[in-house]
């Protein structure tokens, strides 16, 4: 029996840690979606680019992936700004039959990025051999007579804590600073924000940069615990999308909760159903959310007068 509990708790912890990182990816997408009403289908590919930056910084200059968060995040911010300014903005002005053109455009950007990565870095699986990769805290080290044994991998924990710190500082940015407030105003009502003197065009550019920077930070946090290959982008784009649907479109709190739910659910599926089915579990949640919870977690929060 205690083994059962042990497995369950261990799975829960693994899911929670994974969920924290997922939340960071989801927030970036939710921000972009809220402000621009478009889905960035190159989201995972941007994360892949950040991961390659962190990887090469580690291999060439022996910079720890956690330090390269400080380098990769600004780089990704400017990349996001450039994409928005020179590719997406011109398309937003063009008249066409399908309004989904911008989404298809991001698909094109994603294709170019992942294919370029394949050409330059080959499609080999890579990972950063940090020396603390397999270290872990054990519950029995701290509590000798503990009836159950649990372990907490160090890189996972550090990544999780950093993800929480980034999320909290983002929250401060969005609620306390002028730029943050303008971004939220743009997301709520573009025209009203424009009347109030918010430079909507510039907020769009900043938001896209911010979204890219967030997913870039997530990429750096992922690299000590995950392997890296060029086609990884598509997988994470889908994850980000599932989180945003689960959390409620454009809701930041929803994205955090959605990320945690998805992380726990995935890790449960992997333990109790089978490794190969973990992606299916992801989609089951997605479809269930669409059918039974169309507004996502945000709708429940609103109903109970929590959140905004």
């Amino acid at each position: 029996m205690s083994v059962q509990i042990e497995i369950f708790l261990q799975t829960l912890i693994a899911g929670l840690l994974l969920g924290g990182l997922y939340a960071l990816i989801g927030i970036g997408m939710t921000l972009i979606m809220g402000v621009m009403k478009i889905i960035n289908l190159a989201h995972g590919e941007l994360m892949m680019v950040a991961m390659y930056i962190a990887y090469w910084l580690f291999v060439l200059f022996h910079i720890d992936p956690y330090v390269s968060v400080l380098i990769a995040t600004p780089v990704m911010f400017f990349m996001g700004v450039a994409i928005q300014k020179y590719l997406i903005n011109p398309v937003m002005k063009v008249e066409s039959i399908l309004p989904e053109n911008q989404v298809i455009l991001t698909v094109g950007i994603g294709m170019v990025l992942s294919n370029m990565a394949t050409i330059f870095f080959t499609s080999d699986y890579r990972s950063t051999p940090v020396d603390y990769a397999s270290n872990a805290f054990y519950l029995s080290d701290y509590w000798r007579d503990s009836p159950i044994e649990l372990s907490l991998s160090i890189p996972w924990t550090v990544s999780f804590i950093l993800a929480v710190i980034i999320t909290v500082s983002l929250w401060f940015f969005l609620t306390k600073t002028d730029t943050g407030k303008s971004i939220r105003a743009t997301a709520q009502d573009k025209d009203a924000a424009l009347m109030m003197g918010v430079n909507v065009e510039r907020m769009r550019v900043v938001t896209f940069g911010l979204g890219a920077a967030l997913v870039g930070a997530a990429g750096c946090l992922f690299i000590p615990i995950y392997y890296l290959y060029p086609a990884l982008g598509g997988k994470f784009t889908l994850i980000a999308f599932v989180i945003t649907i689960l959390g409620g479109l454009g809701s930041t709190i929803g994205a955090i909760i959605g990320g945690l739910i998805l992380g726990i659910f995935e890790s449960m599926t992997a333990t109790y159903v089978g490794m190969g089915w973990a992606p299916v579990g992801r989609f089951v949640i997605f479809i269930a959310a669409l059918i039974f919870l169309p507004g996502g977690v945000a709708a429940i929060l609103r109903r109970h007068k929590l959140g905004k």
């Binding site: 309004p99 989404v103 298809i104 294709m111 190969g276 669409l290």
Partner: protein, 312 residues
């Protein structure tokens, strides 16, 4: 002249194998026609009804697997998969529509994308049924020569073209366009948008499924990575229509010709072969920025550009 154009083109295409083309040329032609079918099917849903799908690989794959599993489990000819796929793909489309048509615009696009991936992962994991990643292989193909395959896919293409043309010029087609232009306005005018969107999805899915079932018979081998591929099927489908022209009859035809030839050309250049997705991506970006309605849709723009060039 314009009225007779489809007949003339069909007639010419029907006579084409008689002049003795090489096997490779026939293969290219078959691929072009197959992609035309898929493009026309996508165009019905995406171009006319305005529901951009990123998951047409789901219908293609279900069609292909209908034929494949039929052959593999019962030993019947995989050709029976073509009529059977109509039934199975309709049922699947109904279910997919039930889930995804609650979403609008870009969210529908991503919903279908996820459905396509669900199909792929499911096909990979249901090993008893689909052989998983091993795939299904026909022990022997019906004909060595490609001529019959050519006529069959040409038949499917003509059937698709005529049906879609009939649908678009009927009342149903006007409903579709109304939904594309403004869903709320259409709803308030008494159009049952959910019903008509589902009809468009099923029709579109069935035509794509026919192409999938044909693919199984023609290629003789399928696995989940091939037929449920996101980039190689779903995205190429969108590109065929985007390049050719959204919501035009001839757009998918033009798009299929360009895309298949381009793919073959890039693949044949040794060092450029790996970069074919970059090329496609750049082409997609350029088309969206400069010709958002495709070559056929923005033909007047192209003509004006060249005329301007001549005058200057």
């Amino acid at each position: 002249m314009k009225k007779w154009l489809p007949y003339i083109i069909t007639g010419l295409l029907a006579l084409l194998p008689l002049i003795g083309l090489s096997t490779y040329m026939m293969h290219i032609l078959i691929l072009v026609i197959m992609w035309t079918v898929i493009g026309m099917a996508w165009n019905l849903l995406g171009g006319y009804c305005g529901q951009v799908s990123f998951g047409h690989a789901a219908f293609f794959g279900i069609g292909a697997y209908t034929a494949g599993i039929l052959y593999f489990k019962t030993g019947l000819s995989a050709w029976w998969g073509i009529p059977l796929s109509i039934f199975f793909v309709s049922v699947a489309s109904l279910l997919i529509g039930y889930v995804t048509l609650r979403l609008r615009g870009p969210f529908f696009a991503l919903g279908t994308l996820a459905i396509g991936e669900v199909c792929r992962v499911t096909a990979e994991n249901l090993r008893d049924f689909t052989q998983g990643t091993l795939g299904i292989m026909l022990k022997e193909r019906t004909w060595i020569d490609k001529t019959w395959y050519y006529y069959i896919i040409l038949g499917i293409a003509v059937f698709t073209f005529i049906s879609i043309r009939k649908i678009i010029n009927s009342k149903l087609g006007y409903y579709f366009v109304a939904i594309r232009e403004d869903q709320d306005a259409a709803e308030s005018l008494g159009i049952n948008t959910t019903l008509y969107k589902t009809i468009a999805l099923i029709l579109s899915g069935v035509f794509t499924g026919l192409a999938g079932a044909f693919y199984m018979n023609y290629m003789g081998y399928i696995d989940p990575e091939i037929v449920f591929a996101l980039h190689d099927i779903s995205i190429i489908t969108i590109m065929v229509v985007m390049v050719g022209g959204v919501a035009t009859f001839w757009g998918p035809v033009v798009g299929a010709v360009i895309m298949v030839l381009l793919a073959e050309m890039i693949r044949s250049i040794p060092r450029l072969g790996v970069a074919h997705q970059t090329m496609f991506g750049i082409l997609l970006i350029l088309i969206i920025i400069f010709l958002p309605n495709g070559i056929v849709g923005d033909f007047s723009k192209i003509r004006k550009f060249f005329r301007f060039g001549r005058a200057g």
